[in-house]
């Protein structure tokens, strides 16, 4: 991670007066498009919004925009990490967010690979079958947790070198040279 922090790109992003703020604003704007639309899809899977809209219409007409939003999220998110790579890599909230993102991805994968295959049977059913409902709820919970952990990356509460339990140092991936010897 140290080498990444020393790249020209990283230094430029870090030291520019506006670049970081602009990228961060794009990240927040795309949150509306991506999480906002993803939440609408999930709420439709729960049968709570657009009951008259078949699920296939949602996946055909709304999901592509969710993918656009996701692309912008990932692109701006990568730049944000690139601007502060070392600290972010050892940030417990960043690590939690990474794990939650994998879980959200798995949930989406399971839905599209298996659950969605029977969509013909519940395309217009409100409320939809339990498996569909569970996917929607799980997705909402996971994305809410991802927004929370993402917001918390900004804080240095558990940075390596702080006086904190060894467990937190382990989760943050702190190496012995980063840990304050007097804090143990």
């Amino acid at each position: 991670m140290q080498w990444l922090a020393e790249t020209e790109w990283s230094i430029a992003l870090h030291e520019s007066q506006y670049a970081y703020a602009i990228v961060e604003s794009i990240h927040v704007w795309a949150l509306c498009l991506f999480v906002g639309f993803a939440a609408l899809l999930d709420l439709r899977l729960l049968g709570l919004v657009f009951p008259e809209v078949p699920v296939t219409h949602m996946t055909r007409r709304v999901l592509p925009w969710t993918k656009v939003g996701f692309t912008v999220m990932v692109a701006s998110g990568v730049l944000l990490v690139l601007a502060i790579p070392f600290r972010t890599y050892h940030n417990v909230f960043f690590r939690a967010k990474a794990v939650l993102l994998v879980l959200a991805g798995l949930n989406a994968f399971v839905f599209h690979r298996w659950t969605y295959r029977t969509v013909g049977a519940w395309d217009t059913t409100v409320p939809p079958p339990r498996a569909v409902w569970v996917t929607g709820l799980l997705s909402l919970v996971l994305w809410t947790a991802i927004v929370f952990s993402g917001r918390m990356i900004a804080y240095n509460w558990f940075d390596c070198g702080k006086r904190q339990p060894p467990l937190i140092n382990a989760v943050a991936g702190c190496t012995p040279d980063m840990i304050d010897p007097y804090s143990q």
Binding site: G36, A38, R61, V147
Partner: protein
Amino acid sequence: MLLPLFERLEASAMGEAVRGSLWLFPVVEAFHLVGLAVIGGAILVVDFRLLGLGLRNHPVSRLARDMQPWVIASLALMVASGIPLFLSEAIKCYYSFAFWTKMTSLVFAVTFTFTLRRAVAGAPDGRFSPVWNRAVGLTSIALWSTVGWGGRWIGFSG
């Protein structure tokens, strides 16, 4: 003229509580962000439809009616979480250009959403020309985006 008021707001019990806590500001801020995602989705899906994108097979009036309670509920969450955030740093906000940009555009965005946009989006398909629909959709996106960017920028100011 407003500064004494903002000073009193900053000294309020809620302002003190948020300022004095390590966790409160970030947690309330995170709720503010979740509210942002919901209101963003609920507003954008109708604006997109007005622009001829997204759920084109469904009447815009129906979509707008479905989204109305979500817009109101998420707006309520935004205001409820925004107030403690504001109170904790009212004086900083007073001197922040981003804050005043946000509040001004918020007044315009809310007024626009509950008057003109409501009338156009709520009308049966075909009542207003596509040009009207597009203009309303674009204006709505522009106004709400200014609110969001202004809000994010409060954190970068001061």
